[in-house]
């Protein structure tokens, strides 16, 4: 504890010095070197070669390789008589799923939305930092395009990216029309904040409840539109017709373990990310159901993945108190002037550089002994939150970050007064199922939207682009799926793609290590459970 207290007092004492300091953004070469040396994406020993399927020959982390080369939870002889017949099946009750469902419904499609947990239990609901939309006078969709491209190490699909930045303002308009309350300035204009890796302020926020506000409204509208919802009914396998087109899905009722078969002319996977795979042992900021289901479901049908080897480690995951380990401390704190400070009270990176660079530099500080150890044995560096009130005036932290204040207050930490300890946390799946500008994957009839999709963000997503992604591409996928449903008949329902994939695994000599989709992480402790009385002495 002493070391912590001593280091904390350095943080406080060096504040005036640090305020005068500007830490420059590093050159592309420096950034590249730093990321390669310290970012988890470049840890060679964690990477394995994929041997089966459309991405065979590429490398990815062990956790994803095992997910892709897994066994199906659905028996090959399952009776595939459908209980539901719909035009569009939307899979996932987060922002992308809700948006896709609303869009398809508005175009006259008969829509069913199914989701793993409750409608809205998702990553979307937790987004705090905001949504990037280029609206200020000296900003433009083109500037947004180039900022994102730089952040993604130029690996973004330019066509997808153009759609994102150009349809962004309309997406924001759509949300406002539904009643989402983005923060305004005195003249009624939308307020904008600067996010990491961005050259212009462009983040729209609803204090630090941006995702919650968006999700609350979208869910309410899905109910208003009378779109039927099946909760606790995750998709556990897709169905294809004899030509390999997606024709439906098998769900599992989590209350009674029964399978449910759905026939659909179009299927939209909006199942979000994969933080709960705990890649490389990292804690995560993600929701309970973020187990990368879309990756394996789509992969078995023959759809290619894009950038399936790159993950975003959010620079500022909490490491103390232990109970909050992995939980997110929003980037908004850094946007508003919070400093990152090492054990010796010194800044070591421009706080608003891209996330991969900031995360890598925190890992470097800790690896080289300039981190602070917590009582539970984690290491981290300081995020000096009180700096914000010093810069912007007393009361700003309370006003701008009510969720954050509340979260730490529960553990007796007043972030208005004290810095907090942070370390990168597994946050976002940069890649996913490859899509075209209609959100369609390489499998006909199978659309993918939101965090589950890949290509748009390149090798590192720019902060605030994900909320925009799920609205823009949720709409695109919803529209294209509804359109398709108008022009094609329902397909036959088979599991032949699964059988084919399993044969291929066998041919390659791979013994699947797990059954997937995983649905929920296994957090139940298997050790002996102590009855209370025995533990008393």
């Amino acid at each position: 504890m002493d070391v912590i207290a001593e280091s904390k007092s350095k943080v406080i004492h060096e504040r005036d010095e640090r305020r005068k300091q500007t830490v420059p953004i590093q050159s592309p070469e420096e950034r590249d070197r730093l990321v390669r040396a310290f970012h988890p994406d470049y840890k060679k020993e964690e990477y394995h070669k994929i041997q089966t399927g459309p991405n065979a020959g590429e490398r990815t982390v062990r956790e994803v390789a095992e997910l892709l080369e897994s066994d199906s939870p659905v028996p090959a002889d399952l009776d595939l008589t459908p209980q539901y017949r719909v035009d569009v099946l939307v899979v996932g009750g987060g922002g992308a799923g809700a948006t896709a469902a609303l869009t398809a419904k508005a175009l006259g499609a008969d829509v069913l939305l199914v989701t793993k947990l409750r409608m809205g239990d998702s990553n979307t609901v937790m987004a705090q930092g905001g949504m990037q939309v280029a609206i200020t006078e000296d900003d433009s969709p083109v500037t947004h395009f180039f900022d994102t491209l730089r952040g993604g190490h130029l690996k973004n699909d330019p066509k997808l990216l153009k759609v994102l930045v150009e349809e962004g303002p309309k997406a924001a308009q759509w949300l406002i029309g539904l009643g989402v309350l983005f923060d305004r300035d005195e003249s009624g204009n939308l307020k904008t904040k600067k996010g990491g890796g961005s050259t212009k302020p462009r983040l729209l926020t609803c204090s630090d409840y941006t995702g919650l506000e968006i999700m609350r409204v979208l869910k309410d509208e899905v109910l208003n539109q009378r779109i039927p919802i099946l909760e606790f009914s995750p998709v556990v396998e897709l169905l294809t017709d004899p030509d390999g087109r997606c024709s439906g899905a098998v769900l599992k009722n989590m209350d009674n373990d029964q399978f449910i078969v759905v026939e659909a002319k179009s299927v939209i996977l909006a199942t979000g990310g994969s933080g709960r795979l705990h890649i490389e042992g990292f804690p995560t900021s993600n929701h309970y159901g973020a187990t990368g289901d879309a990756l394996v479901l789509a992969y078995r049908t023959g759809a290619k993945l894009a950038h399936a080897d790159t993950f975003q480690y959010h620079p500022t995951g909490a490491v103390f108190p232990e109970q909050l380990a992995g939980a997110l401390v929003t980037e908004g704190i850094r946007s508003d002037g919070g400093h990152l400070v090492n054990r010796n009270g010194k800044r070591f990176v421009n706080e608003l550089d891209t996330r991969d660079v900031v995360a890598a530099s925190i890992i470097r500080e800790c690896a080289e002994g300039r981190g602070v150890k917590t009582p539970a044995g984690r290491v981290g560096v300081w995020l000096d939150i009180p700096m914000i009130d010093l810069l912007l005036g007393e009361g700003n932290i309370t006003k701008r970050f009510p969720a954050m204040v509340r979260q730490f207050e529960r553990y007796g930490i007043d972030i208005r007064k004290e810095p907090v300890l942070i370390y990168p946390t597994l946050h976002y799946q940069n890649g996913g199922v490859a899509i075209d500008t209609d959100g369609q994957s390489q499998t006909q009839g199978l659309f993918v939207a939101g965090e589950a999709s890949g290509g748009l963000h390149g090798r590192n997503r720019l902060m605030g682009n994900s909320l925009l992604d799920l609205i823009v591409f949720g709409k695109r996928a919803g529209a294209a799926a509804a359109q398709r449903a108008k022009s094609v008949p329902a397909g036959k329902l088979t599991l032949s793609h699964v059988t084919r994939f399993q044969k291929e695994l066998e041919k390659n000599g791979i013994k699947p290590k797990r059954i997937a989709p995983i649905i929920l992480p296994d957090y139940v402790r298997r050790a002996e459970i102590m009855p209370a009385a025995a533990a008393k002495q």
Partner: protein
Amino acid sequence: MTERVHESTIGAQSRMITVEIMGRPYSVPDGLTMLRAMWYTGHEVVRGAGCLGGFCGACAATYRTKDDVRLRNTLACQMLVEDGMSFFLNFSYYPNRKSIYDLDQISDPKQELFKIYPEASLCRNCNACTEACPQGIDVRDGVWKAVFGDFQKVSEMFMDCVMCGQCIPVCIADIAPNHVALYASRAHGARLTAPPQNLTRRVDEIRSGKYTDEWKKILSMSEEELKAAGQPSK
């Protein structure tokens, strides 16, 4: 990286304490959240967990501490267990009526509240909703503010509502206060607030084709050219 701690023991201290989960006593380490205490004691949690970050309300739980008579609500993913505490997850599922409305078709959003949720004006001021709210929202006051048409204030007050529904079953006037507030808040945003000029301007610019030529150029660039074009001007 430190070695990964099993999820059910994150935060565990060496001191063991006794907690009751649905009436059954267990010995668990101090320092666990309620949800982790569930996992620690071998409970599979399906209903009752969602975001795990304090934002979705799926983990709403009811508890009582040793020397208190009162039952309190909380979020189990955020709340730490303590010695002598007794709790259960209540699954956050209430089959309350949710009124269906079309925000675009409403002529007077404030008056419309009395059609959509007529029971809102029958609040009997018992304050049970406020007492039930794990987010510390003054729910009762919010219902009144909605009834008196102060939709803006309602939207501010309920910004941290996680829709856990704890305020619904306790209401003696059959109001679902969170839904009343959500209507007021949405109506305020969609109908009672002027569209932001800066956004409207940008949408118009895009529609009028202001950037079309630039896009043509950009989309025909090679990766090298994109890289060069993308360097921020200093």
